[in-house]
Symmetry: C2
Subunit: 336 residues, 2 copies
């Protein structure tokens, strides 16, 4: 069997079955936003890694090296945020074609640093090697958290309200503009491209949600709302009900959809790379979560649905009709 | 300026100057075998990463996936060993071409696991992504150690004796056999190929040396004896004197050199990928280190030289003549 047929998630499942061995120090191994290691009484270390490959995850010339560095760092910080942790150190492994301009990789570092510095992260080293043709970037981040505050994908319970921290779908619109599949009205193009190229890791929000002690599960939206909510449902062995009208869409996206002619909800559900946090909260704590967001000067959280019995995700539309939704993520191994 | 001209070490120097920012929790960042993080009173975390790229570091067909997995894991454990630490968790990021057979990557995991299991390591996760053409493997290992036992490259002092844990040069001979540059007598070919393809991380030796408290600096031999001793000299701001006759060569290497016609010392000095530990010990503790090795059933340590004033590495030959040696490592970015 080839990777094309099995894809990332199929392969991870096969490996998880064999090598997800319980260990004294490893609380959570394969299969969440971060691995979780016990390291001293009451505290845990978080570890996350993301690999970005030229011509799969980015195209040189389509994104400046500075933005690429920012984004590569941001998506890792977002994984730490998704567990409710504080990022501490970033490590970078690079495979660089010999003909690459050194200044370009220095620009990559400058972008990473701009994401790291405000959060007090340091760059702890890594590895720099030659590549025959493509640039490959692997970023790892170590963070820490209180053990009893960490939010896993597996914690959602029946009746919990599902929240989002902000708009979804803008990043997909940005990607479609960059690939010339959509031609936007001139004044909104940069808004969407920025949403795609400069995601903001919601570290403070993640830490606040975790520290509140009232959320039950959390994930960041990298693969797309349906795919990532699907991870929560699978790991928590529950289903989810979404309310179409409650899904937060930017006025820019609604306007673009009207002009160009697409359903903005499709972008919101399957778009990916929004890096909002999706979290679940028992219904009795709804007020608490609203107050928390006010207290920390965060945008109001958007309740978009609830955790229900069964499996899979159903969506209730404005007219009251409900439909089962597929939550398959994008398979980079098979683009057809 | 291009990467071809500046190379790995030149680039790391430029980055180190800019981003090796002191931080409360980061004791050592860029520029040792591992990064060292303070995490609880008296203990530190070690972090290391190695990236391997198809057609730069390995050629599919020349090394079975099982051995590739073993080696990729081993070289990371060797970095933890070089600090005197205990490896705890291994993380793997893979960029895999879609046409790769899933069984091949499972073989890679089997090889990694065979290195991890005896040392009590677990596989903690990572990232699996698509690659347009080449297989790229990034392995990270987190280990831990007592803060006051960690051995850095920077600890060597004037008069220290320089030790090796075992033979050097065999791995280079194995590489030359694999690339058909050397045709060995039939009965020794597998010995050298195994030395190259199945390096053994000296975790127990590293921990014993560190725990003894009598060594002053340590590094593992990945780039080659001269290059890696050069790192110790630079970081410790000292020079080194090597005794040509004391450098441990296997009888197999001496024999091969005689048959094929090369200087085995050249392989030993510049070969790379031996993954022996090189460490320094104040002269008054020579006896202690001999006893330590006996106690832990390790091969006797080989004293090969001493730390001297100045910079660079000089070698005294059997006839008493001395020569300055270049300690430039292999620049993968410029093979000419």
């Amino acid at each position: 069997m080839k990777f094309r047929d099995i894809g990332e998630f199929g392969f991870i499942d096969s490996i998880k079955a064999q090598y997800d061995i319980p260990a004294k120090s490893l609380i959570k191994g394969i299969g969440d936003d971060c691995a979780v290691l016990r390291y001293q009484s009451g505290r845990v270390l978080l570890f996350t890694a993301d690999m970005l490959v030229q011509d799969i995850h980015f195209v040189i010339g389509k994104i400046p090296f500075y933005q690429l560095g920012r984004k590569a760092a941001a998506v890792n910080l977002s994984d730490i945020a998704a567990m409710g942790g504080r990022p501490l150190v970033l490590f970078i492994s690079l495979a660089v074609p010999a003909e690459t301009e050194v200044e370009e990789i220095q620009e990559l570092y400058r972008g990473m640093w701009e994401i790291c510095e405000p959060h007090g992260l340091t760059i702890g080293g890594g590895d720099t090697v030659a590549s025959p043709d493509k640039l490959v970037i692997n970023i790892s981040v170590i963070g820490d958290a209180r053990e009893n505050e960490v939010l896993y994908r597996s914690g959602a319970s029946l009746g919990d309200t599902i929240y989002l921290t902000g708009y979804v779908g803008d990043s997909r619109a940005g990607l479609k503009i960059l690939t010339n599949e959509i031609t936007p009205p001139e004044e909104v193009g940069t808004y969407f491209i920025k949403a795609h190229n400069e995601p903001v890791p919601l570290v403070e929000a993640g830490m606040s949600i975790a520290a509140s002690g009232i959320a039950s599960a959390m994930i960041d939206l990298s693969d797309g709302l349906l795919s990532d909510l699907g991870h929560i449902c699978e790991e928590s062995r529950v289903g989810a009900l979404l309310f179409a009208e409650k899904i937060p869409l930017s006025s820019e996206l609604k306007r673009l959809a009207g002009v160009v002619g697409f359903n903005p909800l499709d972008f919101a559900l399957s778009g990916g790379e929004d890096y909002q946090l999706l979290f679940t909260v028992p219904a009795e704590h709804e007020q608490g979560i609203e107050e928390l967001f006010k207290e920390h000067d965060l945008t109001a959280p958007y309740p978009i649905g609830e955790i229900v019995q069964g499996q899979g995700i159903r969506m209730v539309k404005a007219d009251g009709s409900a439909a089962e939704l597929q939550h398959k993520g994008f398979n980079h191994f098979n683009r057809n």
